[in-house]
């Protein structure tokens, strides 16, 4: 145990060599800061990756007809040459594997409200809910077809409703079939979800995400209220429990089904085209690839090899996460190399300091200090240096975290990881200072006392 006089002695000695002490602290601060940041980045990559993979959409297998996937890359849209049209009946393929728990359609959609009493033509946009399928070409094609259709129509009566109007001009969301809700872990909070019957009858009903439910109407009331888009009137039949995801701000409506040329019920996509994308979800992510294999071979057999594409979004995400984790790990390894160098340096400086102070050690022992006491004395001193360095290092890591946060997408480093990383780095640094402390404790007092 160090006595008060020991501490006075230690601190005044540190203070007596301000530049040396400052360099010690600074070197440690940078090395500990880098190590702490590196560790926190590794942890963040891991936690973020885990959270991402927990998302229900990464238990999905997506099957689409070939054209729609080709459209992603080819500039020419060959909608006339569709050889394959996937229909809602193809969702039955889910029966192939017991691991496939849900099968559904899910298309991005947008609902624009006509909140005005006066009927006027909306600007350039098509008057109906418009699809925002990630395909720019098809969207362009849709607009032209819709506009053409629009121009041919007689003067329109836009749908309106009396009573409270939504506070938003438009909301985005999904047109889905019933399995979508359990697959995305969406559960009803108030009212009810739409049913198979709603789907088949083409009922104009919507379900609101939890956030949207709070903000859509000024009074927060939603159930059985009506929403006017420019061509339809939708009835709100339910609101969802919050999920903490972007889905909370979205609206969900039944997929619009229409008979295709073979008579099967297909999704009526933008411009009257048929839906080409089916979603299957497994309950256990480890079964994804096997289930995807089964689906792929079934669709190949049914529609011909190359006419459908089966993809597992999780794979791409896993790769991205893996890349991110490896980058973070690399950063950590570099930081650890820096920490090692800094520690060797600190150990060296403290060692030469102990040599310079041999005489002091001898006198302390003459006055009654045991070797253990001398050891503690030196360790206490390096403890002060390491603590200051660790605190400054932690400040550096927090600064880095703030920079990351300000730079946008990535978000801050987890605080617990910074604190634990700092403790670990400081612990390593302290281990290195054991060397000079052991040296000091082994100085023979009779020899030390003779030093002039």
């Amino acid at each position: 145990m160090k006595t008060r006089e020991d501490w006075t002695l230690s601190l005044r000695m540190l203070w007596a060599h301000p530049l040396e002490s400052l360099l010690l602290v600074l070197g440690l601060a940078i090395a500990i800061g880098a190590t702490t940041s590196g560790l926190a980045m590794v942890e963040k990559a891991r936690v973020d990756g885990d959270a991402l993979l927990q998302l229900p959409e990464y238990r999905e297998i997506v099957v689409s007809s070939r054209e729609s996937s080709d459209q992603m890359t080819t500039p020419v849209v060959l909608t006339q040459d569709e050889t394959v049209t996937l229909s809602i009946d193809d969702l039955e393929a889910a029966q192939l594997s017991p691991d496939i728990e849900f099968a559904y359609l899910a298309e991005r959609t947008r609902l624009r409200f006509n909140t005005s009493d006066i009927n006027f033509a909306p600007p350039d946009a098509p008057p109906e809910t418009s699809d925002t399928n990630s395909n720019p070409n098809s969207a362009a094609a849709d607009v032209s077809t819709e506009n053409a259709a629009f121009n041919e129509r007689p003067p329109l009566e836009f749908a309106t409703v009396e009573g409270p109007q939504p506070q938003l001009d438009e909301v985005s969301g999904y047109s889905v079939t019933t399995d979508y809700f359990p697959a995305m872990n969406l559960t009803i909070a108030d009212g009810s979800l739409f049913t198979e019957a709603d789907l088949l009858q083409g009922n104009k009903v919507v379900v609101l995400g939890a956030e949207l439910a709070k903000t859509l109407f000024a009074d927060g009331e939603n159930l059985n209220r009506q929403l006017a888009s420019f061509t339809n009137i939708y009835t709100i039949i339910g609101t969802l429990q919050p999920t903490g995801t972007t889905l909370d701000a979205m609206v969900f409506m039944p997929s619009r089904l229409a008979q295709d040329n073979t008579g099967a019920l297909a999704f009526r996509g933008p411009g009257g085209g048929n839906n080409t994308t089916l979603h299957f979800a497994v309950n256990d992510a480890s079964k994804l690839n096997a289930a995807a294999e089964q689906l792929s071979s079934w669709f190949d057999t049914t529609y011909g090899v190359g006419n459908t594409a089966t993809s597992v979004p999780r794979s791409a995400v896993e790769q991205a996460i893996d890349r991110k984790e490896k980058t973070a790990l690399m950063t950590l390894i570099l930081a650890l190399a820096g920490l090692l160098i800094a520690n060797v340096n600190v150990s060296n400086i403290l060692y030469s300091r102990a040599i310079r102070r041999r005489k002091q050690v001898g006198i302390l022992m003459a006055l009654g200090a045991s070797r253990r006491h001398i050891f503690n004395l030196f360790l206490g001193e390096s403890g002060v240096v390491v603590s200051l360095g660790a605190l400054a290092g932690m400040a550096i890591a927090f600064g880095f975290s703030v920079l990351l946060m300000q730079s946008g997408t990535d978000g801050a480093l987890p605080v617990y990881a910074i604190v634990l990383g700092m403790l670990a780095a400081a612990g390593i640094a302290l281990l290195f200072t054991l060397v000079p402390a052991v040296y000091a404790a082994r100085i023979p007092p009779a020899v030390a006392i003779r030093v002039e």
């Binding site: 006089e5 006075t8 006198i363 006055l367 009654g368 200090a369 045991s370 070797r371 006392i449």
Partner: protein, 224 residues
């Protein structure tokens, strides 16, 4: 109080054995004032270090109050140095970072004496060596004589049975050295056992007994 039996100290200097002390035996009684004299390099400091268990003898036995303390664990040795011995060095050896009073308090802190009490005792000790006006001064602000008086106060802080002084006046002008000797004489009179190394015959005359060392051997022992 102290009995040395056939103490020898050899240094191994790269293969050749240098004998710093050989076959030293003597006793020191409670309350004695013993002077150790001898030419430079004869082994006086080596003997003092062994007496103060700062150094271990190569062979022989050391009895303190009848207990054989020749080889004790480090912690015990530290305890004995702290509670029973007071060291005074030629070059004062105060800690330049600590004030006079803090220097005196330090050994008491190792003895586990509470802060308030050791502060009060340190003040009394500094008063006893007539330095109450210098208590908060750093050693660099004190003269050599003053520093040595602080060192004496520090040596006395745990009320030692034995004061070991290795040429305590060696770095001081004669008049200042005399002040130190006066304090030691005063201490001796009040019952403290003192062993002092000196080159100075006049100082040796103040002691009750002079142990003369030459080439590591006990040359003569003169009692007065």
């Amino acid at each position: 109080m102290i009995r040395l039996e056939n103490i020898a100290k050899k240094y191994d200097l790269g293969g050749t054995n240098v004998s710093a002390l050989d076959d030293i035996s003597f006793t020191i009684e409670q309350g004695e004032f013993v002077a150790i004299m001898g030419p430079s390099g004869s082994g006086k400091s080596t003997l003092m270090n062994i007496l103060g268990i700062l150094d271990n003898a190569s062979s022989g036995a050391y009895f303190l109050e009848g207990h054989n303390i020749t080889s004790l664990p480090d912690k015990e040795q530290a305890r004995i140095r702290n509670r029973h011995f007071g060291f005074i060095f030629q070059s004062f050896n105060l800690f330049p970072e600590l004030s006079a009073i803090e220097n005196v308090m330090l050994p008491m802190s190792y003895a586990g004496i509470g802060f308030a009490e050791r502060k009060q005792r340190a003040a009394e000790l500094l008063d006893r060596v007539e330095l109450s006006h210098r208590m908060t001064h750093l050693p660099t602000m004190l003269s050599g004589g003053e520093q040595q008086r602080v060192a004496i106060a520090r040596a006395l802080s745990n009320q030692p049975n034995l004061i070991l002084a290795d040429e305590p006046t060696g770095n001081l002008p004669t008049d200042k050295g005399q002040e130190i000797l006066d304090i030691l004489t005063e201490l001796h009179r009040s019952g403290t056992t003192i062993v002092m190394v000196t080159h100075n015959d006049a100082q040796g005359d103040m002691a009750q007994r002079v142990i003369n060392i030459q080439d590591g051997l006990l040359h003569s022992e003169v009692r007065r």
